[in-house]
Symmetry: C2
Subunit: 153 residues, 2 copies
Amino acid sequence: MPLPQTETPGRLQAELMSRGLRMTRQRRTILSVVETAKQHLDASQILRKAHKLDPQIDRVTVYRTLNLLKRHGLVDELDLMHLQGEKHYYERRPQRDHIHMACLRCGKITEFESDLFDRLKGQIQRDCRFHIVVTRLEVGGYCGQCRTGPPPE
Amino acid sequence: MPLPQTETPGRLQAELMSRGLRMTRQRRTILSVVETAKQHLDASQILRKAHKLDPQIDRVTVYRTLNLLKRHGLVDELDLMHLQGEKHYYERRPQRDHIHMACLRCGKITEFESDLFDRLKGQIQRDCRFHIVVTRLEVGGYCGQCRTGPPPE
DNA sequence: CAATAATTGCAAGTCAGTTGCAAATACTAG
DNA sequence: CTAGTATTTGCAACTGACTTGCAATTATTG
């Protein structure tokens, strides 16, 4: 993820343990993969990376751990406009929400923080009397490099 | 969909035909279902409604027609925060983009238009040099009625 | 109305993720 | 530092949503 992550390593582990959850070898491995990810990973990529650190980790455990992190609001689930099938991508819940832009031609994902977005969320909470837990703003279109035409299909 | 739809009936048909696509009995049926929908429908709900009008319409045709409409930018695909599984919901592409709020407790979907949202899209196009084709802003949280506590789970 | 290219329906397949359950393991409490 | 117990894991089988291959049908055009 391009945006700076000012994070203590092991933060996810600490968060989960402080919530009274058991810290197994498998969870530690998966958390470290998620925590050190340089881009958005889907479940099977996370499995592959975890597998390198611990060859006997199972697919199911990855899914279960991701669900756990999601339920605790420690990771966010993304679609990235379903550019490559219906799978989901995961990223650590950031300090400040951001927007994901997906280029429909080259597939590049760009992140963008905006004061207008923060204000929009405030407006939603106030005007709609809606208590926001999670937001997902994804935008599909053409990035600077690809703007000259439609996608190759 | 709560927001007013100032639409000519048969508009989707007209749009597709003007793009040189063949108008089959099945397509007409599916289009009319999508066009007259009062709320967000998923593929199987659309199939069920289409089936009432034409009992020999197939599931596959519904999926193919929805993809067609999506490719032509005539409908938008929604996740509605995956409140009930991984299926997608569809709605006619509106004149003005709106936000979908999904209550994590009662499941109610609320739509909201906002000038801030329009401005945010403008900012993305300008500041990121990104040509927007489609946007999806979904918000999960607790609606006015449900705000007093966490979901029943 | 015949030609032809697009569309349909069926059956089978794919892909991502989930569930049931017995065996293994982490956190207690003593 | 163990024994007990509640959680977690791994396996295998399953599910749901959607897609693909292909022969038969059908909408448009010439």
